[in-house]
Symmetry: C2
Subunit: 477 residues, 2 copies
Amino acid sequence: MSVLQENDPYVKDMKQVETAALFRQILRIMEELRQGVKKPYKEVIDVTSGDPQKTGMKPLSFVRQILAACLYPQLINDNKLPVDVRQRAQRLLGECPGGSVGSYSATRGVPDIVQRVSEYISRRDGGAWSNPENIFISPGSQWSLANIFQILVNTEASTRTGILTPVPGYNTSILSIKEQGAVPVPYYLDEEQGWELHMEELHRALASAKGVCNPVALYIVNPGNPSGQVQSRQSIQEVIQFAFEKRLFILADEVYQDTVYGEKSEFVSYKRVLAEMGPPFSDTVELASFHSASKGMLGECGLRCGYVELVNLDPAVMKYIYTQFSKDSCAPVLGQIALDVMANPPQPGDPSYPLYIEETQHIRTTLVHNVNRAFTVFNSLPGLTCQPGEGGAFLFPRLDLPPRAIQKAKEAGLGPDTFYCVNLLEDAGVFARPGAEYGQKEGTHHIRICIMTPPDIMEELLRRVTSFHTQLMKDFS
Amino acid sequence: MSVLQENDPYVKDMKQVETAALFRQILRIMEELRQGVKKPYKEVIDVTSGDPQKTGMKPLSFVRQILAACLYPQLINDNKLPVDVRQRAQRLLGECPGGSVGSYSATRGVPDIVQRVSEYISRRDGGAWSNPENIFISPGSQWSLANIFQILVNTEASTRTGILTPVPGYNTSILSIKEQGAVPVPYYLDEEQGWELHMEELHRALASAKGVCNPVALYIVNPGNPSGQVQSRQSIQEVIQFAFEKRLFILADEVYQDTVYGEKSEFVSYKRVLAEMGPPFSDTVELASFHSASKGMLGECGLRCGYVELVNLDPAVMKYIYTQFSKDSCAPVLGQIALDVMANPPQPGDPSYPLYIEETQHIRTTLVHNVNRAFTVFNSLPGLTCQPGEGGAFLFPRLDLPPRAIQKAKEAGLGPDTFYCVNLLEDAGVFARPGAEYGQKEGTHHIRICIMTPPDIMEELLRRVTSFHTQLMKDFS
């Protein structure tokens, strides 16, 4: 007796077989390593996700001290912690219901924190107006994105809702679009031009949707994931102009905004460019901009918190947004506090300032070092090419494998990139994800690698990839 | 379809407009108080949610010390914290990816924590078997419940999926059922019998679904929310027998399992009773049991974490459960650690044991005091009757208002219970929720009050309710 059976039509298939196989493989290898099975490596280097602390990057002391003091307020009276930490913790607790991080906050977030996030956005954007009423703190940017998809997607229309999505693009978001019953309409980033976004490609993609679906939104990831590209102000302006003309809602995933390291790159927010373009753009183009405590300098993935700012939404739609964002309880309060610290880091003269600067500089130096080293090494290997990383947590090098390797993959029932990742993991203990998960131009194959690791781990990773890749090219040449 | 809809206590009573009005009112009053507007009270007592720390209950030191040490590991070397706290924090960090609470964990939870939660369940249930593979840690029990609804509900079938739900029942869950496109099939708890669940009522409810929907599951809240009732082992046995015969999936919301204070009451889990009933029940009846770090003794709502244990699910369905529970990232890691502490409190001989016992005893004494005092006071007022609270965080006293009060409510476009809550908030500064939000028998009206407050707050609340209620009865007599 079982209420649910495998062949029940309502049990939904969501996951790719190949990805599942890769995850079973990593679990097996981890278990084998635990049991002392001999392998050419003692530990797996896992660069599958943008999770800096997993690979040994250190959290920011200022964030952790404040969180610890909020959790255990006796620390506020303990002069081991810097006085600005203790004052900040005291103030934050005063803003939490019941003076505790153990209470539910308002579902949109602690109002004082929402207010300060709004002020932070305004400062970031050269004074552009930001309204706290349009900011929603949530358990993460992907959570917010899924909720907004749910509102954008009309499941009852005879024509399905389309959402323009980058290729390559962030796989979780694309899955989320599909789950809502919408159609991702792919637009291709130009790999040869450092993964640039071209306007003619957006036009082509939009035209391709004709007769298939009704595109209502344009999903952008900037800095790019997995591309590592950073959009110029000019490019953003053109995209906004396009969205204005075609009446598309812009979904701007900007979670890597504080990790831009390309020499000529600069992060400019969609919100800022929109504000600076003035009417009719600034008061009509609908925009959702996402940010997170998990990514970039903070890297506090385990805290589970992010926010979205909404611009130019119809008040009637905002009512649905309020409802949609209220159906769950609040985001974790400690995550909200981390967001507050992100929005308000220590200032010159504060006791915590010197250490904060030292730690953030160290992270920045590490990322620049890693991305340059990886770029150099990948491009030095035959059959591997890599575009420069300008920002974000990833590189997306391209594999040009010998035909015999591709044939071998086919025999194993795998795509060439998955075949590569499976063997890279098995033989070299490097866990990377295949490009197929992110979308790639027909006939091209990639792997995604997170570059947020301590430099010695990056060096070890590059050694392993070099050795594995060289051997593979030899074996199949 | 008409029979059920006419009698649907949720469709009829859950007027979102009224709830929204109440929330606007509380925001206005809070703002007025902030601005120094004179009112008969200086602060609002908010007893709308089971959020103990919001009303001033203290968190458990052991939990907070461990969390603080995990966040800021320098504290592990600081001998100000008890040695068992420091050891535990050290061990927990060793179990987190990268040794940090800032990394993502496995989506189902840190494996070692899942394992210990499983062992805890087994101890709780007198040694009944528990498999860690069937346990999923999530951002909260409501999150898990919504995900399981999503798998149970067949949106493509010509007959809609039905879920038997208690009246009164927890409103968030009922909303969640409706959001998934399912039909809540109400079964009424017997108020006069202390909100007991009667088998004939379950049979009646199931029969009422005929021709309306296809009931696949039975949702139970034990200890009851908002009823405060605790089911006997005998009653649970009967429910399991019923579920077996009717092939219903049991969804057991057991988040208040550690707060049972009725003199003759005892919490027995559905899992335990199921195991003890033996075959054919123990190996066929499908069960999901939910627990949370937000409720009961821990009361850490702000951390956002809970777990569900699944029993007897078809392996093919479990595959979809894995997928469903993997589509988001992990639960907040600090919440997972709080769950671990819940599952493994200090033991006799541990340095933290005496304080832990003192604090938990204090909470227990407070709850028993509050529930008894509230019971006595409510029942002493004409037009108010209250069933004894046996467990959980709430009482659900019944209002018998004079006809003129009911008329007045009607003129204001409000249900009598919402009218009562609006005035109780405005005049007495007590924020309670109307029974309509939870479902109630036609013609009856209630309010829900959380009893998890410090005793002095409870006394002040009872003074305010007494004074307000007496005046209201006089004004409308």
